[in-house]
Symmetry: C2
Subunit: 381 residues, 2 copies
């Protein structure tokens, strides 16, 4: 294997695939970056066996030569050293060559490195998913879906399936839902998919968070392929694989209260700022408890009390409050996470009693499941 490559293209690809690599892997070769060279270009791969990222660098891009290949082949190089080296190389071009015993030389300007590589044949095979079912989705929509649901997954592995986001595709609609059993985040949107097929999958929350970091809002749309307990997100020159979680996701629709006893319409941004301030003292409590009380004339009060430190209260004008008066306590962090999903718009909060879960939705939403955030109150003594 021997080739000369444009340093900046190499650095970008290394940075992308490194996101999948974990220093704590139990499979030593996965701390490396796999490099494959063939007559089409150079492919880099990073993986922690849950997530795998493949970045492709073509020979020519926009009439400019990016890679000149002298001989084909492959090698695995320690990502920690290889990444630091390519980022600091002095010249625009880099020559990489595998000599004997997987020794690899990296040459740029007057700098000359030799790294001990690992046999490319020992690197685990990536799953085959190219034959699966396909969906196409605009990238800004996918980023929103991830952002509005993924924070609500469970972080404890007692019920592994709850550490993922459940995607149900049915009748041209994608429903994404995440819950840690104390709160729930749900997002529903129309989607380009064959009407006759139904999918019900659970994607690890960590995979979606990493994918969201890689996705560039500016790009157009991506293709999603489903097969063999794997999901593949296909971008130009970048493949992002994630395994799917096994086990059936609970039916969450029965958790959402049907009746409403009181309803608050308020601006999400103003409410978020007040909750943020109230949380400054609440955070020392185990549950980060914030109290919401209705006052007269549509005013509400947000308050919190930590006997050792002090207390805080703030009055806010809502757009409207209707129904039974209310005093309810909840986890301030859960409320802030939920409010951020609405991007500062006016929202409607439906309460069905002090000890029953309450639901946040956009004001005047046509589809009640367009964005839905549910929070279970905290009992205070």
């Amino acid at each position: 294997m021997k080739f000369v490559i444009d340093r900046d293209h190499l650095v970008n690809a290394v940075n992308e695939v490194t996101r999948a690599i974990s220093a704590r892997t139990t499979i030593p070769i996965l701390t490396g970056i796999k490099i494959d060279v063939n007559d089409e270009g150079v492919t880099l791969t990073g993986s922690d066996s849950d997530i795998s990222i493949e970045a492709f660098i073509p020979l020519i891009e926009q009439d400019e030569v990016i890679v000149e290949v002298e001989s084909f082949g492959g090698i695995v190089l320690q990502s920690k050293y290889f990444g630091d080296i390519v980022r600091r190389l002095p010249d625009k071009n880099v020559e990489i060559e595998v000599t004997t015993n997987n020794q690899t030389t990296i040459r740029s300007g007057q700098a000359f490195f030799t790294l001990n590589g690992l046999d490319v044949l020992e690197y685990p095979k990536l799953p085959e998913v190219s034959e699966g079912k396909q969906i196409r989705i605009p990238i800004h929509v996918l980023k929103n879906i991830i952002r509005q649901t993924v924070f609500a997954v469970s972080t404890i592995e007692v019920r592994p399936v709850l550490t993922g986001v459940n995607w149900i595709i049915k009748n041209g609609t994608l429903t994404a839902v995440a819950t840690d059993s104390h709160r729930l985040a749900l997002r529903e949107i129309p989607i380009e998919a064959p009407e006759e097929e139904e999918y019900n999958i659970v994607i690890p929350g960590k995979s979606l968070s990493e994918l969201n970091k890689i996705l560039d809002e500016a790009s157009d749309s991506l293709e999603i392929i489903l097969a063999n307990n794997q999901i593949l997100f296909k971008l130009k020159d970048l493949l992002f694989y994630s395994r799917l979680l096994e086990g059936s996701y609970p039916d969450t629709s029965r958790l959402i209260p049907a009746e409403t006893k009181s309803e608050l319409i308020i601006n999400a941004k103003a409410f978020l700022q007040a909750i943020d301030r109230a949380s400054l003292l609440a955070r020392e409590n185990r549950n980060n408890v914030i109290k919401l009380s209705t006052l007269e004339n549509g005013q509400v009060e947000v308050s919190s009390n930590s006997p050792e430190i002090g207390n805080v209260s703030e009055k806010l004008f809502s757009q409207s409050f209707t129904g039974e008066d209310l005093q309810i306590s909840f986890n301030g962090k859960y409320m802030m996470d939920a409010l951020r999903a609405f991007e500062g718009d006016d929202i409607q909060i439906s309460f069905s009693g002090t000890m029953r879960p309450f639901v946040l939705r956009p004001r005047d939403a046509e589809n009640p499941n367009e964005i839905l955030q549910l929070i279970t109150p905290v009992r205070t003594y």
Copy 2:
């Protein structure tokens, strides 16, 4: 105590004094910020007993009212909570009032906080240094002196005096020197000070690093006052106190070799980048060992070898090399620290043998002590 204050001025002052506060203090009240209000304005104080910072906010600044005082007094508030609160207050103005039992209310817009404060009389007294000897120094000069010496202080406390930077002021010259006994950094400049007086003090390295972060390159000059084992740096509306280290600093002048066997002139920036690359593989060794070898035609080679990972070498053209050929090994981090002191200019490195300390100076320096960096080589087997 009761006053109304402009939030942005309060936030700035809180940020400044918080730099002196350590969560790991053994004196609980020092985790707080002291607030004093009198007829001139508001003074905030933070301290970890080694460093103390006092920020003053006047009643009026540039014809604008900053503080309106209703009653005098003082209080100590937990810096962790007070800082987070003032940074998030909703309104331009903040009202702070001490009620009974050191309870303190903070009001801004509709937000209303109560914090449990501590009695201001229990806060330790700051040292009295206003009567000491005075020096005046431009701020950009002081920042350079700190930056070019402080990295070389010892980080282990076996010889506490070596954790500080030794300042000697004599005949209108300031000499700052730091050493951890493996390397030494020295800076000498003319200074405005009374000719007849001599000072020899040791300032803790940590104090100088913190001071450097606060100093704003844009400002003009500051006054330094020395007294009672304390040093006070006096800026407009900001006082920075540090205790001085006790014990006499070793005479380091005899460490600097008088004879030179070979001399290398090279650009500090190009050399630094090559050392940085060579350190990428060297860092795994305990001593971060880099080897420098002279070649023909004024070329030098920088190299490093870590059997398990790989090796690296790079050839550089120097401006000139004269004297005995050389193969010398040194700690790459020490070399990078030293090279950064020269800001990319050409430097002259004087060697007096493979196992003798070598010295870096600016090329064609008039005063051999203007900037001097000394490094002891590493023995390689």
